[in-house]
């Protein structure tokens, strides 16, 4: 037991010394390795941060959204529709909502105009006031108290004073938001007083969501009822798919890296070959040399993985994954700029290791073995 421990300790000592003796040899490998971990890690951490973000956003949204449909296209709901839903059993609150998109040619961006629901007291806006998302504020260089002018497609003019700017907690979805008062909204878009974009339904018992949606569908056959579970499934599937696709594109880089690792491990310098020959000749076994080389590989992996993961974390945390964000987020002229919270969990670390450390280790196994089985009498020939 003691001897086995000492033996291992000697191996690690020697491996560290050996890496220190050939510092430049592995430098290129470690840099490439760390880069690969960084790339793959950025994609994964960003993907998971964005999914978490989306989930957080959805969790605050209504359990069921009802949308009127005409010929398979979205239409406005009327006050009569809202009234029809009232009195449905198991429903806690029914809130008709007003929101719509506005193409802002001055800023060359799309805004989402929305009337905050009466239940959201924190974001209540008065007539002539607006609360804007972080992206809008950035694009139009707005500060609280500044004036925001909007022009509707039909040439209507809306002049508002910025009351506040939305915090960037869920910036992914609120970045392009402009919250305005109901009368301003209707006047701006020239909407009659009794139409609504859609209806949010909050349910008393979360287990009854499907039942409530089914019952509601009977009352309003021309409406579509989307549950939060449907939305989160779609969001999860969409972001996962994007993340997976980006990773699949990076697979080429992974293969190239594995080939590099194989090549590095096979192409030993004459000096290293001589050292292995000496070790074999003075009584080291094949198993010892394999262990030695795997410890070396493990140290390289450890350093590169750590550097790569920290790099990826910083990339997502401080630079919002600038390299991959456009692919993963989807297209929008107003990218949110907000601190994502990449939380590193065991599944992600394990996946990242399986995608990077496993190919590296697999690639060096055969070269390591070939090195280690050098004939001990080679040094005497």
């Amino acid at each position: 037991m003691r001897a086995a421990f000492e033996r291992r300790r000697h191996l690690v000592d020697f491996a560290v010394g050996s890496l220190a003796r050939h510092p430049t040899k592995n430098l290129g490998l470690v840099v490439t390795y760390a880069l690969v971990v960084f790339l793959v890690g950025s994609v994964m951490l960003y993907g998971s941060a964005i999914r978490r973000e989306a989930a957080a956003m959805l969790s605050s949204g209504p359990e069921i959204t009802a949308q009127a449909m005409v010929m398979g296209r979205h239409d406005m709901s009327t006050s009569a529709d809202v009234a029809a839903l009232k009195g449905l059993r198991g429903v806690r609150r029914i809130e008709p909502r007003l929101w719509g998109y506005l193409w802002d040619s001055a800023g060359a961006a799309n805004y989402t105009l929305m009337v905050p629901p009466p239940s959201d007291a924190a974001h209540a806006v008065g007539k002539g006031e607006a609360i804007v998302g972080e992206g809008v504020a950035r694009a139009r260089k707005l500060k609280p108290g500044a004036m925001l002018f909007l022009v509707s497609p039909s040439g209507k003019f809306l002049k508002t004073r910025v009351k506040s700017i939305l915090s960037s907690d869920s910036a992914l979805v609120s970045s392009d938001l402009v919250l305005v008062e109901e009368a301003d909204f209707r006047a701006f878009f020239e909407l009659p007083a009794d139409v609504w974009t859609d209806v949010a339904i909050t349910v008393t018992n979360p287990r009854e969501v499907t039942t409530v949606a089914e019952k509601a569908a009977l009352k309003l056959p021309r409406h579509r009822f989307v549950t939060r579970a449907d939305m989160s499934r779609t969001a999860e599937a969409l972001f996962s798919w994007r993340e997976g696709l980006t990773l699949a594109l990076l697979a080429g880089a992974l293969v190239a890296f594995a080939i590099l690792a194989f090549d590095k491990a096979s192409g030993l310098s004459a000096e290293e070959r001589r050292e292995i020959g000496i070790l074999k000749a003075i009584g080291w076994e094949t198993g010892d040399v394999i262990a030695l080389k795997l410890v070396e590989g493990g140290l390289v992996s450890g350093v590169a993985f750590l550097v790569g993961v920290i790099g990826a974390w910083a990339h997502v945390r401080f630079f919002a994954a600038g390299l991959f964000a456009p692919v993963l987020e989807g297209w929008s002229t107003l990218y949110p700029r907000f601190p994502l919270a990449p939380s590193i969990d065991a599944l992600e670390i394990a996946t990242l290791a399986a995608l990077t450390v496993a190919p590296f280790t697999a690639a060096i196994l055969v070269p390591v073995w070939r090195t280690a089985t050098a004939d001990p009498d080679a040094v005497m020939r």
Binding site: R2, R7, R21, I282, W284, T286, D377, M380
Partner: protein, 226 residues
């Protein structure tokens, strides 16, 4: 006691460049004696030395060390026997550059798993014995030829083997260094070690401490005395 029966060693078996480097050798090497293998280059003496020293397996034939059959032993046990039985001093010393003399001396003992501290003490003791105490921490590429050889001998002794094997030990040494080497060999013999040397250097083959001379030619033993 090491005995060889009908030992052969063939390289590149079954190919057009097949070479039988050792052909049917019977030999007994007695304990505590200095034995010299001599012969021209290409006579097979170095190959025979690697086979005796368990560095290479014989193609056919048997080798016994103190009665235990070692040909056919799995590698890790062959290594165990080798570490216990043989210490090697190679022609070109084969020290690892960039490591100190002390670390070089300790290397063969790493697989035995002896405690680090004990190994350091032992290595320094050996270096001291060969007058290299002040060189222990020096990287080996800064040593002279004679010093390097003594470090190589110290390394051969770290596992306290019964047999010291030296391949052409005097090939690159001047007269004074040869005398120094012979003195060390004498010491080892006096300490009860078996010494096995390959050499065609008359300063070695004619030295009074040699107990047995084995002459090889073309892979066979042509003369063994006594």
């Amino acid at each position: 006691m090491i005995t060889l029966e009908q030992v052969t060693k063939v390289f590149n078996q079954g190919r057009h460049n097949e070479v039988a480097a050792v052909r049917g050798v019977d030999l007994t090497i007695g304990d505590g004696r200095v034995t010299v293998l001599r012969g021209p280059s290409g006579s097979g003496k170095t190959t025979l030395l690697t086979v005796i020293g368990c560095l290479a397996r014989p193609t056919t034939g048997r080798i016994r060390i103190d009665g235990e059959m070692v040909s056919g032993l799995p590698e890790r046990f062959l290594n165990e026997v080798r570490r216990r039985t043989f210490g090697f001093v190679f022609q070109r010393f084969n020290l690892i550059r960039g490591l100190s003399a002390r670390d070089n001396v300790m290397l063969p003992a790493y697989p035995t798993g002896r405690p680090h501290r004990a190994l350091i003490d032992q290595a320094e003791g050996l270096l001291d014995r060969f007058g290299l105490a002040d060189r222990a921490s020096l990287s080996v590429e800064h040593l002279s030829g004679g010093e390097a050889q003594r470090v190589a001998i110290a390394r051969a002794l770290i596992n306290d083997p019964a047999v010291i094997v030296a391949d052409e030990p005097t090939a690159s040494l001047d007269g004074e260094r040869v005398a120094q080497f012979l003195a060390i060999a004498e010491d080892l013999k006096r300490a009860g070690k078996t010494v096995l040397i390959t050499s065609h250097d008359p300063r070695i083959t004619a030295a009074p401490l040699v107990d047995a001379l084995v002459t090889m030619a073309d892979g066979r033993i042509v003369e063994a005395s006594p």
